[in-house]
Assembly symmetry: C2
Homo-oligomer: 350 residues x 2
């Protein structure tokens, strides 16, 4: 399979992308990678790797596809895509559209990635809105949150679809048997929440091609009560960022508190390995990126602050997603989905 | 001043309320407390305190007001208030309405407390919706979040009012000079967020009787970048519950990790005091309760799982709020507020 990797995505591009690509090619024999971006810049980054161990073995499966223009996260996604036809996003997505490649991976602009996927690949038939799915970096039972921030104003039926797509992903990519889909809400009872959450609950409680386990409060989201957390992108993003913020705040406070006394310093020394293990379990690097579910193709958004290891993980994830056939599963299951009558009528124009 | 305390509120009622009341009366000479609830139940709880230290000194300032009916958190608030005219909430709120008491404190049903306050005390003129304000239990600069869950579907102008009321509270009750009001959003830029957040931003950016410091992401909310976090009650509740959940999860994981090795056990022993201090800084007990801002009177919601200390803290807070005159400040400042033209027209019917 061939994966297109945005050579210019991420704070530390292009080197992280080149290094991540080489690592992935060494690990997976069945993968080819096309680095997309300004030819000269990428060639220079590649030439810096010429002496690296194993590069000689994989370079035949690594190519550069010239895209002289680059879209940055600071640009307006839709305007930039229209203006920069020869950009990393346009050239890369076109390859996936023409079936010259199987997946697109980028640590660049989330907006450009999403808009590019919508315009170039299109939505899977029946999908109201594609959504970003994020595996929350918590230990034990992994939790996939859909939507993590792509759709800030949602119709209830879209959130139901997020649940369906998340369930398909957990089954096919993460090998979870009968994933439990919860709805993020501010109380456990059916009548809790804002208008949108109440309507979504009603739809989810109908016959659906996934297992609905009811409302899930933010307090319980990270304690393993479900496999998929369906939510609108605003609340989802608040939960995601807040989790990151609280974890980082708490580790900082523990460090400061322990370093304030001699006893604490000794404790910190003794507990060094334990804290390292804990921090690692919250590290999003190993998770890969956030797949954009609901588009006709495999699209993975890697973190903007990715290092080479994170890019490797995102490429590994792209390979798993392609092999899993999850896009086909989503397409098939959407056809089975129970929809509110208005939603069915409205869909074709959406 | 006289404070009405719901004798039947909280998981461990009535004893926590009786004990908390006695502690508050011992601390504050200028306070009288009326315990409201079924006379016999409260008398029995009081008689159990007859031998306690200091009870004799304060019992003249502690009275029981009979309310034979009790509204539980499981009941529909509005229906229960209509049916149970002699309930703790109706009898207590009526005392505040008739100016026989200055404040109402309850660890009971949030819904009944809010609906009771709305019906019996009424909104401050110009307030779209009263809101629950919660001081987030984070160290350093305290952060007041408004709304913490009372209003799950909000108009933008209500959220602006939450900012105004929160600012008044921080100035008058918490003695913060020029509180910075942030808007919870999923990005820093003005154009970020859902429709409601974008509209709220536009209104807040106009001339307002408080200091608006822009959008605040959930990642940064707990790191001291503002004093008041204005938000709709849905996102606010997600942030509040998620923070509690992540803190509790992390402390649990640290304990488990350390107890898994001999080195870890020694470290845990050495760091015992440090961890105790950290846990305390996240403990909501000392904070008191959540004031309901925007009603004509002082109303404090204490946690359902309050202990006697938490009830004491909520009573201490009620006293501070009454002395601060914050209700008058909110009334005066609302008159100065910049409103969108539609909002001004719509207000009288709201």
């Amino acid at each position: 399979m061939k994966i297109v990797l945005d050579g210019m995505g991420g704070d530390d591009a292009p080197q992280i992308n080149v290094d991540g690509a080489i690592a992935a090619l060494r690990e997976f024999d069945d993968v080819e990678i096309a680095l997309v971006g300004p030819q000269q810049v990428l060639e220079q980054a590649l030439s810096a790797c010429a002496d690296k161990e194993g590069y000689g073995l994989v370079k035949s499966r690594l190519s550069i596809v010239d895209a002289p223009e680059v879209i940055t996260p600071q640009e307006h996604p839709v305007m930039a895509l229209r203006r920069k036809k020869n950009s990393n996003f346009c050239v890369g997505m076109d390859m996936v559209r023409r079936k010259e490649a199987d997946a697109f991976v980028s640590a660049g602009s989330t907006g450009a990635l999403m808009a590019g996927a919508m315009f170039k690949l299109g939505r899977i038939k029946g999908v109201g809105r594609p959504a970003l799915a994020t595996l929350l970096p918590v230990p034990g039972r992994p939790l996939l949150m859909v939507d993590a921030g792509a759709n800030v104003d949602c119709k209830p039926e879209w959130v139901v679809e997020f649940g369906l797509m998340g369930s398909a992903y957990m089954r096919r990519v993460m090998n979870v048997d009968k994933p439990q889909v919860g709805l993020l809400n501010i109380g456990a009872e059916a009548a809790k929440g804002n208008e949108q959450a109440q309507e979504t609950y009603k739809l989810m409680a109908q016959e659906q091609p996934f297992e609905f386990c009811g409302n899930v409060e933010a307090r319980d989201a990270l304690t393993g009560c479900c496999d998929v957390l369906a939510t609108d992108g605003f609340a989802g993003n608040v939960l995601l960022k807040n989790t990151e913020g609280v974890v980082s705040l708490l580790f900082g406070m523990i460090k400061k508190e322990l370093m304030g006394s001699m006893k604490g310093k000794v404790a910190a020394l003794l507990a060094k390995d334990s804290f390292r293990a804990l921090k690692k379990s919250f590290d999003s690097t190993e998770i890969g990126g956030a797949p954009l579910l609901g588009v006709e193709g495999t699209v993975i958004k890697a973190h903007g602050n990715s290092n080479a290891r994170a890019i490797f993980c995102a490429l590994r994830q792209a390979r798993s997603v392609v092999l899993s056939g999850v896009t086909d599963v989503i397409r098939e299951e959407l056809a089975l989905m129970t929809r509110a009558p208005e939603a069915q009528e409205e869909k074709p124009q959406a």
